[in-house]
C-alpha cells in the first residue's frame, strides 16, 4: 500500500508543477493589469511602471512563473489589488465560505445519488427508474445557471408570493445562528448538488446493475442471505468503487468554487471573487485561485486513486 501511494504521489507532484507553470504562462498572456494605462500613457508613466514592477511584467513571460514560485515557496501569494488585502487572507475567508456550500452540496449529492442508483438498479425498468432516468437526462442538459435561477425563483420568491412562506433565503450569507445559516446555504447547495446527482446516479445505476448480475451475488442469495444484506453489503461495496472517483473529482470541483452558482446566489465564495479578480485584472488573486483549483484537483485525484487502491486490491497490487 505504501509503495502504491508513493508511486501515485511521485506521478502527481511533477504533473502539478508543470500544470502550474503552464497555467501561469497562460494567465499572464491573457490578463493584462496594465490595460487601463495604455490610453493615458505618457502622462501616467508612473502608475504604469509601478504595476510593471509589482507583477514583474518586464521579465520574459516564460521566466515569470519562477519568480512567482519562489515567492510562493516563502508563503507569499502577493496582495490583491481589487480587495486590498493579502491574497492569502482572501483565499482563506472565501475558501471557508465556499466550503460552507460545497460540503453540504457534496453530502446531499453523494447520499441521493447513492440511494437513487441502488433504487434504479433494484427496480430496473420500473416507473420510478424511468422517471429518474428522464429527470437525469434533463439535469444533464440543464446548464447550472438555469438550474440555480429556477430554484431561486421557485423556492425563494414564488413560494413567498403564493403561500406567504419563505423557507429559504435567496442567497447571500446573512445568518448569524445555525438555523439562519442553514436557510442561506440550502438553495445554493441544492442547486450544486442536483447537477452532480444527474450524472452520478446514472453511473451508479450502471455499476450497481453490473454488480447485481454477478455470480457471487447469486451465491449470496442462494445461501439464504437477506436481500438487504446482499444489496447493501455485498453488492454496494463493489458497485461503489467507480463512484468514488466521480465523487472525489466532483468534490474538488465544488471546493474550488462554483463561479456560476455563487454569483447567482451572491455567495461570497471563491467563485464570486474570481469573477471580480478577472474583471479587475487582479493578477495575484487570479493566479492564486487558479493554482488553488489545480492543487485541489490533483489532491483529490490522488485521494481517489488511494481510495481505489483501498477498495479494490487488484488495482493496488496490479
Amino acid at each position: 500500500m505504501f509503495a502504491y501511494v508513493t508511486r501515485r504521489v511521485l506521478i502527481a507532484v511533477p504533473m502539478l508543477l508543470v500544470a502550474m507553470y503552464l497555467v501561469h504562462v497562460g494567465v499572464s498572456a491573457t490578463v493584462d493589469p496594465r490595460s487601463e494605462f495604455y490610453v493615458c500613457l505618457p502622462r501616467c508613466q508612473e502608475g504604469f511602471d509601478r504595476i510593471t514592477e509589482q507583477y514583474n511584467l518586464d521579465t520574459n513571460i516564460f521566466l515569470r512563473p519562477f519568480g512567482y514560485f519562489s515567492e510562493l515557496a516563502r508563503g507569499n501569494l502577493g496582495d490583491s489589488s481589487s480587495i486590498g488585502e493579502p491574497v492569502w487572507d482572501t483565499l482563506k475567508t472565501r475558501g471557508w465560505n465556499t466550503a460552507m456550500i460545497a460540503i453540504p452540496a457534496f453530502l446531499i449529492g453523494a447520499i441521493l445519488s447513492l440511494l437513487l442508483s441502488v433504487y434504479s438498479a433494484r427496480r430496473q425498468y420500473s416507473i420510478g427508474d424511468y422517471t429518474f432516468t428522464g429527470l437525469s437526462f434533463i439535469g444533464f442538459a440543464m446548464p447550472s445557471f438555469v438550474m440555480a435561477l429556477l430554484l431561486q425563483h421557485i423556492f425563494a420568491v414564488k413560494l413567498e408570493q403564493l403561500f406567504g412562506i419563505k423557507p429559504f433565503n435567496t442567497g447571500r450569507k446573512t445568518g448569524e445562528n445555525f438555523l439562519q445559516l442553514a436557510r442561506d446555504v440550502t438553495l445554493p447547495a441544492v442547486s450544486l448538488a442536483i447537477l452532480g446527482i444527474a450524472a452520478d446516479s446514472r453511473f451508479g445505476r450502471a455499476s450497481m446493475l453490473e454488480t447485481l448480475n454477478q455470480d457471487y451475488i447469486r451465491t449470496a442469495r442462494a445461501k439464504g442471505l437477506k436481500e438487504g444484506k446482499v444489496v447493501w453489503k455485498h453488492a454496494l461495496r463493489n458497485a461503489l468503487i467507480p463512484l468514488v472517483t466521480l465523487w472525489a473529482l466532483g468534490f474538488s470541483a465544488l471546493l474550488g468554487g462554483s463561479v456560476v452558482t455563487e454569483s447567482i446566489f451572491s455567495w461570497p465564495g471563491i467563485g464570486q471573487v474570481f469573477l471580480r479578480a478577472l474583471g479587475d485584472a487582479d493578477l495575484d488573486l487570479l493566479m492564486a485561485i487558479v493554482m488553488f483549483g489545480g492543487v485541489l484537483t490533483v489532491t483529490f485525484n490522488l485521494i481517489a486513486d488511494v481510495l481505489y487502491g483501498v477498495l479494490d486490491p487488484r488495482i493496488r497490487l496490479g
Partner: protein
C-alpha cells in the same frame, strides 16, 4: 428451425428483417446478400426511438432558428422603446426585451450562434483529438507519453476557471470562443481514438500493410482511422452538447459572446434581473438550451448504439469502414507482389 436465435421482439412471422435481429435465413447462413454495415447501422438507428426523437427535434430546432425569423416582421436589433418587456403575444411570439427588441428573433439568432459555436468547437476538438490520439496510439513510446501527459495536464486544470480567463480575452468572436472551448475538450476524443488504435494496430492486416511498404501516413489514414469513424461520430454529437452548455455558461457570465451578438446564455443573463416579475424571459432561452442538449444527447446515444462495433460482429455484416480498410490492404498487397520484394519489419 433455429428459432432460439430469434429475439422476442418477433412475436409473429415478420416478413421484413428487424433491425438488430436476425431472420432464420441469416442465422443458418443462407442469406445470400449480407447487409452492409452502413445499412445495418441505419436500420438500428431507425429502431432507436430516442435517437429518432433527438434527430427530429434537432432538425425542428434548426428549422426554427434558421427559417423562423423570416416569418417574423421584426429584425434582430430593431428597438421599439414603446414595446418594452412585453409578454408573449401574436405579434411578439416570445415577448420583447428591456429595450423593445423582439425576443423570438433574438432567441433564434442566439440559438443559431450557440449551435454554430457548438458545432465549430466540437469539430476543432475532434480534429485535434483524433490527430493526437491517433499519433499517440500508432507511434507509442515518446509520442504516446507526450500526448498522454498533455491529456493529463489538460484534465488537471480547473476547467471553468481557465475557460473563463481565456474566454474573457478571446471569446468575443465565434472562432476564438470555439478554439478556447476546443482546447479543453479535445482530451476525451483523443483517449477514445488512442484506445481503439492501440487495440487494432497489432492486427495482421496492419502488419501486412507494413510489410507491403505502406507509409505511416497511409496506414493511419487508410487502415486505422476508418475504424474510429463510428466512435468519432458519437463523440462529436456528445461534444456539441457539452460545448453548448459551457458556451452558454460563459456567455451568461459575460465572458463569452459579447453584444451585439446574442447567444442563449446572454439572453438569460439579460433577463435574469427581471426574473421575479417576468420569469418567461429567462425560461424561453433556458428551455431552448435544455432542448438542444437533450436532442443532441439522444442523437449521440442512438448513434452509439447504431455504430457499436460489437453489434457489427453480431449481425455478421462486414463493416463499411472495415471493408474500406480491407480494400486498401488488398491494394497494398498487390503493390507488394508487383514490386517483387518483401519488406521485413518495415
Amino acid at each position: 428451425m433455429a428459432d432460439t436465435q430469434i429475439p422476442p421482439v418477433l412475436d409473429e412471422d415478420v416478413v421484413a428483417p428487424q433491425p438488430g435481429g436476425a431472420t432464420t435465413a441469416e442465422v443458418e447462413g443462407l442469406s445470400d446478400k449480407p447487409k452492409s454495415f452502413g445499412r445495418l447501422a441505419w436500420e438500428r438507428f431507425l429502431g432507436h426511438r430516442m435517437a429518432l426523437v433527438g434527430a427530429a427535434g434537432l432538425l425542428l430546432l434548426i428549422a426554427l432558428f434558421w427559417i423562423g425569423p423570416y416569418f417574423s416582421e421584426f429584425s434582430f436589433d430593431e428597438r421599439n422603446v414603446r414595446d418594452r418587456k412585453l409578454g408573449p403575444s401574436t405579434e411578439h411570439w416570445f415577448g420583447t426585451d428591456e429595450i423593445g427588441r423582439d425576443l423570438f428573433v433574438r432567441t433564434a439568432q442566439g440559438g443559431r450562434y450557440s449551435l454554430q459555436i457548438g458545432a465549430l468547437a466540437a469539430l476543432i476538438a475532434t480534429g485535434a483529438g483524433t490527430l493526437l490520439g491517433a499519433l499517440a496510439g500508432y507511434f507509442g513510446k515518446t509520442v504516446d507519453a507526450l500526448v498522454s501527459q498533455l491529456i493529463n495536464l489538460t484534465l488537471i486544470v480547473p476547467a471553468i476557471i481557465v475557460l473563463s480567463v481565456f474566454a474573457n480575452k478571446w471569446g468575443a468572436d465565434a472562432l476564438g470562443l470555439a478554439l478556447v472551448l476546443a482546447a479543453l475538450l479535445w482530451t476525451r476524443i483523443a483517449r477514445v481514438v488512442r484506445g481503439v488504435i492501440l487495440q487494432i494496430k497489432e492486427q495482421e492486416y496492419i502488419m501486412a500493410a507494413r510489410a507491403a511498404g505502406a507509409t505511416h501516413k497511409r496506414i493511419l489514414a487508410r487502415h486505422l482511422l476508418p475504424n474510429v469513424v463510428g466512435a468519432i461520430a458519437v463523440e462529436i454529437t456528445l461534444l456539441i452538447g457539452s460545448v453548448i452548455v459551457l458556451e452558454s455558461t460563459l456567455s451568461f457570465l459575460g465572458l463569452g459572446v459579447k453584444p451585439p451578438n446574442a447567444s442563449l446564455g446572454t439572453l438569460v443573463a439579460q433577463a435574469k434581473g427581471d426574473i421575479d416579475s417576468d420569469p418567461i424571459r429567462v425560461l424561453t432561452p433556458g428551455i431552448f438550451i435544455v432542448l438542444i442538449v437533450l436532442c443532441v444527447n439522444f442523437l449521440g446515444d442512438g448513434l452509439r448504439d447504431a455504430l457499436d462495433p460489437r453489434a457489427k460482429v453480431d449481425d455478421g455484416g462486414a463493416g463499411k469502414a472495415a471493408k474500406k480498410a480491407a480494400k486498401a490492404a488488398r491494394k497494398d498487397a498487390k503493390k507488394m507482389k508487383s514490386s517483387g520484394t518483401v519488406v521485413v519489419g518495415a
